[in-house]
Amino acid sequence: MNTSVIVFPGSNCDLDVVHAISSALGTQADLVWHDDNELPQGTELVVLPGGFSYGDYLRCGAMAAKSPIIRAVIEHAGSGLPVLGICNGFQVLTETGLLPGALLANRTLSFICDFCHVRVERNDTPFTSLYRKGQVLRIPIAHYEGMYFLPGDELAKIETANRIVFRYCSPEGEVDDSFSPNGALNCIAGITNEAGNVLGMMPHPERASESILGSVDGLPLWQSLSRWLEGRNRS
């Protein structure tokens, strides 16, 4: 799997993603500087990692969304290849317009770092094919701005279009606002674009990819992507 992990000034989960992919799949990922205009030849997966791009000043992800590399990321997404935005990367994706909505301050008005539970709502995406639908994942979050927001009518539209991939839930899989750590509308923890090849998620799969870190529930995400890309290359 040829992966490009975009590094913005202030990204801090870039090396974690590289490490997770390498320990999960045994493949190396490239770090790509935000100032570059092109993705490395042959890039299959683009990851926008977590962190505090541009210090999270102004609005999380707003300045990163104006980086030169973003044009290439948008083109990449347009070609049908997968783009994954994790945490700050999700915020960048909403700011670029590749995904709808915005991530607002947690309703607790505090940074939250903790394991949480999310339910897999779709397993027909390149990112989730190796999960069961309804499977509950134990996976960390770490953010101040993670409350997913979209105005009511548009929210209804993405619900109808089945664009929600992960929702916060109880350890048993019950979805309810009381299990949402940040107050996200409809307990949304991750969504895709219409085509299903761009995923934004607040939880960190790279932090749940090794048993020594307390969870391997993020592993199938990398494995799903690798399998999906192999299938695509064969056909």
Binding site: N12, F52, R207
Partner: protein
């Protein structure tokens, strides 16, 4: 212009020493510079002699005190650089920024060794939650640590938090950072040669915190508001860029020496490099990138954050500049290493400062404060103790679990990103924090401890016990200690009784360091922690780093699963004097004998390590604050399981249930390991005291508290 030396912060004898050394009158700028560099904060003039008592050598020590941080060997060619530093005074005045810049400063100390900052720990001594001012300070401090540490991408993996009224107006913020560095690639601050350039990288220089070091060397005045302009503002975004930039420059082999710019900014960083390298240095003030118009002496002393001083060969300047530009940082060659041994600053073509570098960067004459053992023995009333009935045990245990020092700290640590860098193996809230070195896969255990109450009773034994409280959990988890760092937080040394307490504490720490071969590799001193309302208790904060054997996972400290035997390793009764029990109940205030027994500690250490390495127990927990019953409660609370203690009435004393001090631990031992466990502990006091199971904590057939109730107390519900 003639300046009063006192307004520069110098004493009459220091001023005459300066005139004698220089054979002339210092000018205004020189006086200001020496005033700051000879302050307690920069010069350690009151404690240098004491600190020399610390044993600092060991085969695992790669770098001892004297550099920006100490380094110990973590195997396979990798080292751990670590240090703790205080930011008490700034945090008392501006809690968010004070704590934030404390984190930023200690990260740059680690970076200056060429290490990648990998983990943070925080020692916080906070005022009582019942004081609204103290609560506001505590909230600001935690948010400051979170705001900075999270954005800079270094996980806060643990620490120590305690509460006492004596910290209401004078909270202690001791930030510790650990970094990973390849042993053949360590950066030093003593390797500059004449002809090398001094390169400043990072933020522009402004008037932040001018003379902040002098501020940290005096008592807090009544009107802390007026001190505000001195507080620096941190920018974690720039710090993150600075880390990546310096590490990239270092990876290309372009750094000859490096020093972070903390207290006294350009002056301390450049004069220390020159003094340690045995060279001189000339700084041109006009070349320093500025945020605003400033006088040369202000430039020399500005404490603007997020700046590093690099010493580099002239032919590498362009490459360094282009790496800095990539990271959007200011980069300027601001001077040159010289061979005349002088710290020189020029501006507008003329020399404004010319002082021997040795005199600036390490020349303050030591101060020998008089020392006097406090005369009056404290005669606190003692309610006395005897066997306890179960209702008293129940109430006492509930009160202990609700005590802010014991209760759940997750409301604090969940505000910290403790998982970034995907190395956190044991998260905050446990007796040992553990992280993995990504480069070699080895696990590092870290602890932080302070126990000012015990130090108040007996500074020697209290400090020793503080150190041991940091060591024992490491041993129990299976980690062998490598080295120690400490922050000595004390009131004014000018009071002879205060100074005696400080001396005794240092001796206590030094004794443990020597007796158990845990060298002191770095540290920091913070004196004058007092304000008009009073002074703090003696508070040495100790951080210890330990290493796990290859492929060994840490032994659990809070999980029980199914029915297992509970063993107490160590003396049956602990000591009540200085315990949480005594503080809460007023009973047993003078009960028990305080002792420091290094042979016993050493014996405990080897057995604990053998138990963990031999996989002879499923859970081990040190008996510390709140005693045996508290340690057991913590296991019940997190594993949601009860236990029964098989104790006979004459044994059920406060000393057994709630006593502290000394090497004592509880173990959960599965049946299959019983023989091995008992063999390992043969020759050391060890006794089976009960078994796990059920849904309550009981003593014999009497229920003390249901687990559900313990959980509620501990979580403050």
């Amino acid at each position: 212009m003639k300046t009063d030396f006192r307004s520069a912060g110098l004493t009459a004898s220091e001023y005459s020493a300066i005139r004698e050394l220089l054979q002339r009158e210092p000018n205004f700028a020189e006086l200001r510079i020496l005033g700051v560099m000879w302050s307690e904060h920069c010069s350690y003039k009151s404690t240098r002699r004491l600190l020399s008592l610390f044993p600092k050598d060991g085969e695992q020590v790669v770098q001892g005190p004297g550099e920006n941080a100490g380094i110990v060997d973590a195997g396979d060619g990798w080292g751990i650089a670590f240090k703790v530093e205080s930011h008490n005074h700034p945090s008392a005045v501006a809690p968010y920024q004070g704590a934030a810049t404390g984190v930023g400063g200690i990260i740059r100390d680690i970076l200056a060794m060429g290490a990648r900052p990998a983990a943070l720990m925080d020692g916080l001594c906070l005022g009582l939650k019942t004081s609204s001012r103290a609560a506001a300070l505590a909230d600001g401090i935690v948010k400051g640590i979170a705001g900075y540490g999270n954005a800079v991408g270094v996980p806060t993996i643990g620490g120590k938090t305690l509460y006492s009224e004596c910290y209401n107006g004078n909270p202690l913020v001791n930030a510790m950072c650990l970094g990973t560095v390849k042993l053949d690639n360590i950066v030093s601050s003593r390797t500059a040669l004449p002809g090398h350039l001094a390169v400043l990288i990072g933020s522009r220089t402004g008037r932040d915190g001018i003379a902040g070091a002098a501020f940290a060397s005096s008592e807090l005045s009544d009107d802390t508001r007026s001190s505000r302009p001195q507080v620096q503002i941190g920018d974690p975004f720039v710090e993150k860029l600075l880390i990546e930039c310096c590490l990239e420059i270092h990876s290309k082999g372009l750094i000859v020496a490096m020093q972070d710019m903390g207290a006294a900014g350009i002056t301390s960083s450049s004069s220390e490099i020159a003094a340690k390298s045995g060279t001189g240095i000339r700084i041109e003030a006009d070349l320093v990138p500025l945020r605003e118009k400033m006088e040369p002496w202000e430039i020399a002393l500005s404490e603007s954050q997020e700046r590093m001083l690099l010493i580099a060969e002239p032919e590498h300047l362009d490459e360094i500049g282009s790496i800095a530009a990539k990271w959007q940082l200011e980069c300027a060659a601001i001077g040159e290493v010289t061979d005349d041994g002088l710290f020189v600053m020029t501006s507008g073509g003329s020399t404004v400062v010319s002082l021997p570098a040795e005199m600036v960067g390490g020349g303050c004459p030591p101060v020998l404060w008089p020392s006097k053992r406090p005369s009056s023995e404290t005669t606190l009333p003692d309610g006395g103790t005897g066997p306890l009935d179960s209702s008293v045990i129940r109430e006492t245990l509930a009160a202990i679990l609700r005590d802010p020092g014991i209760s759940d700290k997750s409301a604090i640590y969940k505000q910290y990103d403790y998982m970034v860098q995907t190395g956190t193996v044991v998260p905050p809230g446990r007796s040992v924090s553990v992280f993995r070195v990504r480069q070699n896969g080895r696990l590092i255990g870290v602890t932080m401890e302070a126990d000012p109450w015990k130090c108040s009773i007996d500074p020697f034994k209290g400090a020793a016990e503080t150190f041991l409280k940091a060591l024992r959990p490491l041993w129990l988890s299976g980690a062998a200690h490598l080295g120690m760092t400490n922050c000595l937080n004390y009131p004014s040394p000018e009071n002879p009784e205060n100074f005696w307490v400080l001396e005794e504490s240092v001796k206590g720490l030094a004794a443990v360091a020597g007796d158990l071969s845990c060298p002191v590799v770095s540290g920091n001193v913070s004196l004058y922690n007092e304000n008009p309302e009073g002074k703090i208790m003696p508070t040495p904060m100790v951080g210890v780093v330990g290493l796990f054997e290859k492929n060994l996972l840490p032994l659990e400290d809070q999980s029980a699963s199914g029915r297992e035997d509970i063993f107490l390793a160590g003396d049956l009764p602990g000591t009540l004097e200085g315990s949480l029990f005594a503080r809460l109940t007023g009973n047993g205030v003078h009960e028990g004998r305080i002792s420091y027994d290094p042979a016993k500690e050493s014996s405990f250490m080897s057995r604990a390590l053998e138990t963990a390495r031999g996989d002879l127990a499923t859970c081990a927990r040190p008996i510390a604050g709140g005693g045996l019953l508290t340690a057991l409660s913590r296991i019940c609370i997190s594993s949601n399981m009860g236990l029964t203690l098989l104790l006979e009435p004459p044994e059920i004393t406060p000393g057994l249930l709630f006593g502290e001090w000394g090497p004592r631990a509880v173990y959960l031992v599965p049946e299959g390991s019983l023989n091995g466990f008992l063999e390992t502990w043969d020759g050391f006091p060890v006794k089976k005291i009960g078994f796990t199971g059920d849904s309550s904590l009981s003593i014999g057939d009497r229920e003390i508290l249901p687990v559900k109730k313990m959980q509620k107390c501990w979580r403050g519900e």
